[in-house]
């Protein structure tokens, strides 16, 4: 037991410290240094600087792991930096940066541009850091709540908008319920092992029968809490409402960052300490996965609001990613990582195009608002086509490879029926993505609408997400190698 703050501790924790410091500094700068609304751009620059500093530190950790291999354990096993955790840190970094870039114009248009927004983005990312790298229950729980509470505020950020208030309230109540379940599961896991460290819990769990009632209670409550967070059916009810009411830039953050962070935790727990009790949770996960695909697909077909449609499509994607957990072999794990990486860029891109449609006095959330986008802004229309095709999982875009490895893993482990069901649902999902494509390319604009709300930041973010979505589909080797490296210990 080491009681001092060592240099390893510092090396591991520094990115999170930097994110928290820059986050708090941005909150202060907002009213001390840059009180004038026209100076808001400096706060965005603060965010970019903070991300750059954290990025440099993550890069140092990456170099260290690449050179020496293995993992870095800090704070007596409370935090572990390994390739798996770092993989997710890069996803969070990219997500926060892109969300920051697309928010500036959007918040200006919605007339709710407040400086604390950028600080909160960084604090949320700080919470995500602990979700991906925490290997101790208290650390994980506090990280999870840091992220969740920040998200409650961000979802309700449009203070004068009733729908945003309502979305925040619903998200808070159901998010709180899921955190409660998760904490209950953690408390029972602590009861089983007598320690909050995942390493000790793993030993205690593998010593027990998988059908031990106490262990079942722990697994069921933990699984329910996490299925809520990844918005898998039947615990997805909050997602469409929270997605619809939240500012569109935050919807993107919620759909990508929060989901990736929750999946990181899910994979840490269910491939790690709970892995030995696979037979007791596999049926639960299979049920959740199939239900997610059914509900996600069929509910998405009837939606007229694009944000709700993408919310149900997110439920559907959560079902697919869960299939990798059910397969449970290295291919499945790799498939989940590749899927999450691609999902990050294609989903951010799709939401980005939706933020551009928001103009003064025009929500831009209806499918009809996409009408005639091809004539108005061919660039955005073509990128949106790529994102939607990728979301549907059609080659040559990245989305295809996400699904490919999941299916491969299912076939390798003999889950042929599941693979067939999942493949059938791809066909259903193509239908509602093509409804959006039809609106963009075939329908005509009804009346003159104001020009799109673009900015340099948005175009930059669009380029990055679009090029990566295509690149992963055309030339996937480096990304597959990255995912492969993340699962080798």
């Amino acid at each position: 037991m080491n009681l001092y703050y060592t240099s390893t501790d510092h090396f591991v924790l520094l990115p999170a410290i930097l994110l928290a410091l820059f986050g708090c500094a941005t909150l202060l700068f907002d009213f001390l240094v840059f009180p004038d609304p026209r100076q808001r751009r400096w706060l965005l620059i603060c965010l970019v600087l903070g991300e750059a500093c954290a990025g440099i530190r993550f890069w140092r950790q990456q170099e260290f792991l690449n050179a020496y291999g293995g993992e870095l354990t800090a704070f007596n096993g409370a935090l572990t930096v390994d390739q798996f955790g770092l993989f997710f840190q890069w996803i969070f970094l990219a997500t926060t940066l892109i969300v920051g870039l697309i928010s500036y114009k959007y918040l200006e248009v919605r007339e709710e541009h407040h400086g604390e927004y950028y600080g909160l983005l960084m604090l949320a990312q700080c919470g995500m850091f602990f979700l991906a790298c925490g290997t101790e229950l208290v650390t994980i729980f506090v990280g999870l709540e840091t992220m969740a509470v920040t998200f409650y505020i961000l979802v309700g950020f449009l203070r004068a908008d009733k729908r945003s208030n309502e979305a925040a309230m619903k998200y808070l109540l159901l998010g709180g319920l899921s955190s409660g379940f998760l904490a209950y599961g953690f408390s029972v896991l602590y009861g089983i092992a007598g320690s909050t460290k995942l390493r000790v819990i793993a030993e205690a769990v593998s010593a027990r029968n998988a059908w031990d009632p106490i262990l079942l209670l722990a697994i069921a409550t933990t699984a329910v809490g996490l299925l809520f967070k990844i918005s898998a059916a039947p615990f997805h009810m909050w997602a469409p409402d929270a997605y619809e009411g939240a500012p569109t830039s935050i919807t993107a953050f919620l759909a990508v960052g929060s989901k990736a962070a929750s999946f990181a935790l899910l994979m840490r727990l269910f491939f790690g300490p709970l892995g030995s009790a696979r037979e007791s949770w596999a049926p639960l996960m299979i049920a959740a996965s199939i239900l997610s695909m059914i509900i996600g697909n069929f509910a998405a077909v009837t939606q007229t609001n694009t944000k709700r449609l993408l919310a149900y499509s997110g439920v559907n994607h959560a079902g697919y990613i869960l299939l990798g957990l059910i397969a449970g072999n290295p291919t499945g794990l790799k498939g989940m990582l590749v899927y999450l990486l691609i999902y990050t860029f294609m989903n951010l891109g799709a939401f980005l195009v939706l933020t551009v449609l928001t103009r003064k006095g025009l929500a831009g959330e209806d499918i009809n608002d996409l009408n005639g986008l091809m004539q108005r802004a061919p660039g955005y229309a073509i990128w949106m086509l790529i994102f939607l095709v990728s979301l549907a999982g059609i080659p040559p875009t990245g989305g295809f490879f996400g699904k490919y490895f999941i299916f491969l893993a299912l076939l390798e482990t003999g889950h042929t029926t599941l693979a067939i069901i999942a493949a059938l649902f791809v066909a259903v999902s193509v239908y509602y993505y093509f409804r959006l494509i039809k609106a963009i390319f075939i329908h005509k604009e009804e009346q003159d609408t104001p020009p799109l709300a673009t900015s340099l930041g948005i175009r930059l973010a669009l380029g990055v997400t679009g090029v990566l979505t295509l690149l992963i589909g055309v030339y996937p080797e480096p990304f597959l190698r990255l995912a492969q490296m993340s699962i080798s210990r």
Partner: protein, 103 residues
């Protein structure tokens, strides 16, 4: 005849509290009462942690409980803040009247 109170008793009590809290969140109309049900769930967790901490004879459980109390306060503060914003705009705290988004 007196039975000693074992960790199982605490587990049953905390499971009951979890159930009551969950039913409260899903059934009650008033958002303030729902927030109270949320606290009930977190207290079920605290009870578990303290009981198990005593059983195992280490302090991790109690420290975890303190962290949960802190987190619960943060969550309640944000929850009430959002509730006030909502009340200003809609003049109601009854969740079945908060229906702009399809539930």
């Amino acid at each position: 005849m007196l039975h000693p109170i074992t960790p199982e008793h605490y587990l049953v009590l905390s499971a009951a509290l979890l159930l009551i809290g969950t039913v409260g969140i899903l059934m009650r109309r008033n958002a303030v009462v729902i927030l109270m049900s949320l606290e009930l769930i977190l207290n079920a967790v605290n009870l578990n942690l303290v009981a198990f901490g005593k059983q195992h004879g280490n302090a991790s459980g109690q420290i975890f409980a303190i962290f949960i109390i802190t987190v619960a306060v943060a969550e309640a503060a944000v929850g009430l803040g959002i509730l006030i914003a909502l009340f200003r705009n809609k003049e109601t705290v009854l969740v079945d009247e908060i229906d702009l988004l399809k539930w």
